[in-house]
């Protein structure tokens, strides 16, 4: 599994990527196709585009933090 860092990628490119994956953004938060905010399923917080990670497992978008990533790896041990 290759890991691609979004750290230094422009906001415009990230929005294009999100759209390609069936999501969107208002420039600050990641949005679902119906324009509702994508919620980090483990921490239950809205995901900011500047801090998002996009992980395999039916496309899981999370906030980049150790709690969410630990929980993700517990659920998907071979995810990344």
């Amino acid at each position: 599994m290759e890991l691609i860092s979004l750290k230094n990628i422009s906001k415009e490119s990230k929005i294009l990527l999100l759209r390609e994956l069936g999501y969107d953004s208002d420039g600050e938060f990641v949005l679902n196709i119906d324009k509702t905010q994508v919620i980090d399923k483990y921490l239950e917080i809205p995901v900011r585009i500047e801090n998002m990670v996009i992980l395999p497992g039916s496309t899981i978008i999370l906030d980049d933090n150790e709690i969410s990533l630990s929980k993700y790896l517990e659920e998907f041990p071979d995810g990344i």
């Binding site: 801090n51 996009i54 630990s70």
Partner: protein, 225 residues
């Protein structure tokens, strides 16, 4: 550019850290993602730190004695906090998130592990081991009711309130082990209070675990004839 060329260029870009983020490349990356060949992250170091804790020896040890999944997870996060000791921004961010999701008690459980207090606490329990089940019960009682057994001294605490809190907690609960713990400015306050606490807890003997930034006092109850 053909699709295969784009994918190949993309893969090469990944290894070199120089990705082309044109629309065609983004489409190729999205396809690779859908094919489960790549993931988009922020910082590889974060993934590395999280993965390290998943299989750490210390966590595997705790798995034997902590059957509660939520508490075990907080222990894991405690190990992660310890690993982030030299990354104050990341550590603060994680502490804030633990506090937000698991409240003060959850943060204190993680902090107890972070500061190496749980492993020493277990060490003291083992010195008087009755049975494995008894050890498990005592560890779970400690973690479930951590505020009864540990005083976490904060930077804004004053000497008087620390001593009052020790008195209240110890006299109300008569714990066999009571811990006073402080980090950075909290550690300085613990140092100032040590002699007064030791005078107060006449039925306890003191074991100290100190380092540059941490001051931890373990008071162990002694049984006199």
């Amino acid at each position: 550019m053909e699709y295969d060329d784009i994918v190949e260029k993309t893969a090469t870009g990944v290894t070199k850290g120089l990705l082309d983020w044109s629309l065609s490349s983004i489409k190729a990356l999205a396809q690779k993602f859908r094919d489960k060949e790549l993931a988009f992250i922020q910082d590889e170091e974060t993934i590395k730190v999280v993965k390290e804790q998943l299989n750490s020896g210390e966590l595997n040890f705790y798995k034997i004695y902590i059957p509660d999944e939520k508490i075990l997870f907080l222990a894991k996060i405690g190990l992660t906090l310890r690993r982030l000791e030299n990354n104050s921004e990341r550590r603060k961010n994680l502490r804030d998130k633990v506090h937000q999701k698991y409240e003060v008690r959850g943060l204190h459980i993680s902090q107890f592990v972070e500061n190496g207090l749980l492993n020493r606490y277990i060490g003291i329990l083992i010195e008087n081991l009755i049975s494995i089940q008894d050890l498990k019960d005592k560890i779970m009682k400690l973690l479930n009711e951590i505020e009864k057994y540990v005083l976490f001294v904060k930077a804004q605490d004053v000497e008087r309130s620390v001593i009052d809190q020790v008195r209240i907690k110890v006299f109300a609960n008569s714990p066999s082990i009571f811990v006073v713990s402080g980090i950075s400015a909290g550690a300085e306050i613990v140092k100032k209070c040590e002699s007064k606490i030791t005078l107060l807890l006449t039925n306890y003997e003191l074991e100290k675990i100190s380092s540059e930034r941490k001051e931890n006092l373990f008071y162990k109850r002694v049984f006199r004839d």
